[in-house]
């Protein structure tokens, strides 16, 4: 039976709690409190209530028939996380952590954000539960994702631009950790992905598993069986692990994680540590495959999608790759863009650029498969936030 992480937060050699001493008691308190409430009926009931009435779950599965027909092979099904309140899967986790923060008496929440979806989700739950909210966001991402910055501000959050390093997601993480270390007693860090120090990878996974748990019920209702493969994009990998985890023991279902190939793996300018077999290292509290130079300095990544533009990846994905249960591939910027436009034109759905990577891989393998095969793609978010980026790349001024 697959049963990870172990009690010390390790997935094989991956994971752990690599944090400065000041924060160790904080992550330990979080671990204890999470274990306490994880199976608490009242906590579970409140979480389920919020997911149903506030987020709008369950999210439907949609058969992208037009697009599948054009591709001429396997049928592509979309798990519509883009239809969630706030427009992405991030809200599932943000609600879970906010409910925990409430029980721990924390009145101030902080978050890092890349594309801004986790920042929006955190700002949303902070407004919903009456908490002060500070969101750290790389200055470059603030440029790329200006609509989300304004959404956060409308929701009452303070957005702090991060000017250090590459001014993207990893630097936002650094800054959020610095805030946490300074305000550790008053503050709950709502971490956005299934990475970081234990218990975050486990806890975020558990909150996101609603995606896969619903899909496992919905797919048999739709097609009488489970899909042949489940596909999701992987930056830190929270939408992916949420879909994958419930399928780990379904041996006939292939699991495929899609990383951001940027300008191509060979160019070195990408955000695909697993596909590129990046060396194992330690960053942001966990041991994972990590993009770094020969001196152990973290290298700058590139992706068209701010949400995937991160040098590491969640420890459970590293582990699923190592044990051979999941396969990881990369999709380049231009392939993702093509899938983005195809979904807009053929299905009337504007997907997030992050999710477009998963879509592009489905489009790549579907034509090689027979028409009775089924691919389930996690459409993890909607693409309204990306229209400025897409327009710019198309040479259009909005």
């Amino acid at each position: 039976m697959y049963n990870y992480p172990d009690s010390t937060g390790h997935f094989g050699q991956f994971g752990g709690i690599y944090m400065a001493e000041t924060l160790i008691p904080a992550v330990e308190e979080l671990r204890v409190q999470y274990l306490r409430y994880q199976n608490d009926p009242e906590f579970k009931a409140e979480f389920a209530y919020e997911l149903k009435h506030y987020v709008g779950r369950p999210s439907p599965i949609y058969h992208a028939k037009n697009w599948s027909d054009r591709l001429g092979g396997a049928q592509i099904y979309l798990k519509r996380e883009d239809l969630n309140h706030t427009g992405a899967h991030k809200i599932n986790n943000a609600i879970g952590q906010a409910l925990l923060a409430k029980r721990m008496g924390k009145k101030r929440v902080i978050a890092e954000t890349g594309a801004g979806m986790h920042g929006v989700a955190t700002a949303t739950v902070a407004a919903r539960f009456g908490m002060e909210c500070i969101v750290y966001m790389g200055a470059e991402d603030i440029q790329r994702q200006s609509p989300n910055v304004y959404r956060m501000k409308l929701l009452g959050a303070t957005v702090v631009p991060v000017e250090s390093g590459s001014k993207t997601l990893k630097d936002a993480c650094n800054e959020a950790i610095r805030d946490w270390v300074t305000n550790v007693e008053s503050t709950f860090y709502i971490f956005g992905t299934a990475a970081g120090p234990h218990p975050y990878p486990m806890m975020v996974r558990d909150f996101q598993c609603v995606i896969g748990n619903e899909a496992k019920i919905q797919m048999p209702e739709m097609i009488g069986r489970q899909p042949d493969a489940v596909i999701a994009c992987v930056g830190g990998g929270s939408n992916a692990i949420g879909l994958f985890y419930p399928y780990i023991e379904e041996e006939n279902v292939q699991i495929i994680g899609v990383e951001a190939g940027g300008y191509g793996i060979a160019s070195g300018q990408h955000a695909a540590p697993l596909t590129a077999n990046a060396k194992v290292g330690v960053l942001h509290g966990n041991r994972v495959n990590l993009m770094q130079d020969e001196n152990g300095q973290i290298t700058e990544t590139h992706s068209i999608s701010a949400g995937l533009d991160y040098p590491g990846v969640g420890p459970e994905h590293c582990w699923l790759k190592e044990i051979g249960r999941a396969q990881y591939v990369a999709i380049n910027d231009d392939e993702a863009m093509r899938a983005f436009h195809d979904l807009c034109r053929f299905e009337g759905i504007i997907p997030a650029l992050e999710s477009s990577h998963a879509l592009a891989h489905a489009a790549k393998i579907a034509p090689e498969m027979s028409k009775d095969k089924a691919l389930l793609v996690n459409l993890s978010g909607r693409g309204d936030k990306d229209i400025n980026t897409v327009a710019r790349l198309s040479g259009i001024a909005l």
């Binding site: 400065a20 290292g281 001196n295």
Partner: protein, 266 residues
């Protein structure tokens, strides 16, 4: 006996407290690192904490972040830092040198190779900010096999049971982080340090150094009354940042000397 123990034993006999300056190797330039180390010793430093620059210094405030960036731009690396220590040892075989940084550059080199190189070049202790005792078993076996002291941090948030656990693993001295925050913050609370230290002393038999937030001679003196060593980092790095190549040695010497005199009167 290690240089760290020899140093603290001698200080104890003289009823003095250690002055432990920190700065980032390679800042402002690798060619100035060894001269700065010698100048600090001449001005009264007892132990030198040499920062190993890292691309993502999560526990550091803006001053040391900028120092890391400057050093990395100059091509500084863990390998380079070890070479600088070897160079320092050509003229100084008694002042303890402690490397302080984050784990990933060491991981990339391999702990076995790193520990061996530390022993070869004359590094005495290693403080890895993001490697708590829970994740440090293999690392510290390598360090101890080569006679290198693992230096641990303790924080205001560290509870008694953990202090006890750290006491078992720590060698050399223990570094008490005097505030909840990043390096260079200014909200140090003397009475909180005064309350915490007896609790630490129950378990920690090693010397205790206190750092984070010590920005002037007056604070250094007040903190020195409570502990065995005073670590000053961001203030020194700031002095380096505000100097030019021609003035940096003199300015840093003057600052270290001022701190020394203040601590001597503690």
């Amino acid at each position: 006996m290690s240089r760290i123990q020899t140093t603290f034993d001698a200080l104890k006999q003289q009823n003095r407290r250690a002055l432990i300056p920190f700065f980032t190797a390679g800042d402002p330039h690798p060619s100035l690192t060894v001269p700065l180390m010698h100048a600090m010793v001449a001005a009264g430093a007892d132990v030198i904490e040499l920062g190993v620059p890292f691309s993502d210094p999560m526990a550091d405030g803006p001053t040391i972040q900028r120092a890391s960036e400057r050093a990395l731009k100059q091509g500084m690396s863990l390998r380079g830092v070890l070479n600088l220590v070897a160079e320092f040892r050509q003229q100084d075989n008694s002042t303890p040198v402690v490397l302080m940084g984050y784990g990933n550059p060491i991981e990339a080199m391999g702990w076995d190779v790193f520990a061996q190189r530390c022993a070869e070049v004359g590094v005495d202790g290693v403080l890895t900010v993001d490697f708590p005792p829970e994740e440090s078993h293999d690392a510290f076996e390598y360090l101890q096999a080569h006679g290198i002291d693992p230096i641990f941090l303790l924080a205001p948030t560290t509870e008694d049971a953990r202090v006890e656990q750290v006491a078992k693993l720590a060698r050399g001295y223990v570094y008490y982080v005097s505030l909840k925050g990043v390096t260079g913050a200014g909200n140090l609370d003397l009475s909180a340090i005064e309350q915490k230290l007896p609790q630490l002393r129950k378990h920690i038999k090693l010397p205790i150094g206190v750092g984070f937030g010590i920005r002037d001679a007056v604070t250094a003196q007040a903190v020195a009354k409570l502990c065995d060593g005073v670590v000053v980092g961001s203030r020194i790095v700031q002095e380096i940042e505000n100097s030019n190549d021609a003035t940096v040695i003199a300015n840093v010497s003057a600052l270290v000397n001022e701190l020394r005199l203040a601590i001597n009167q503690a």
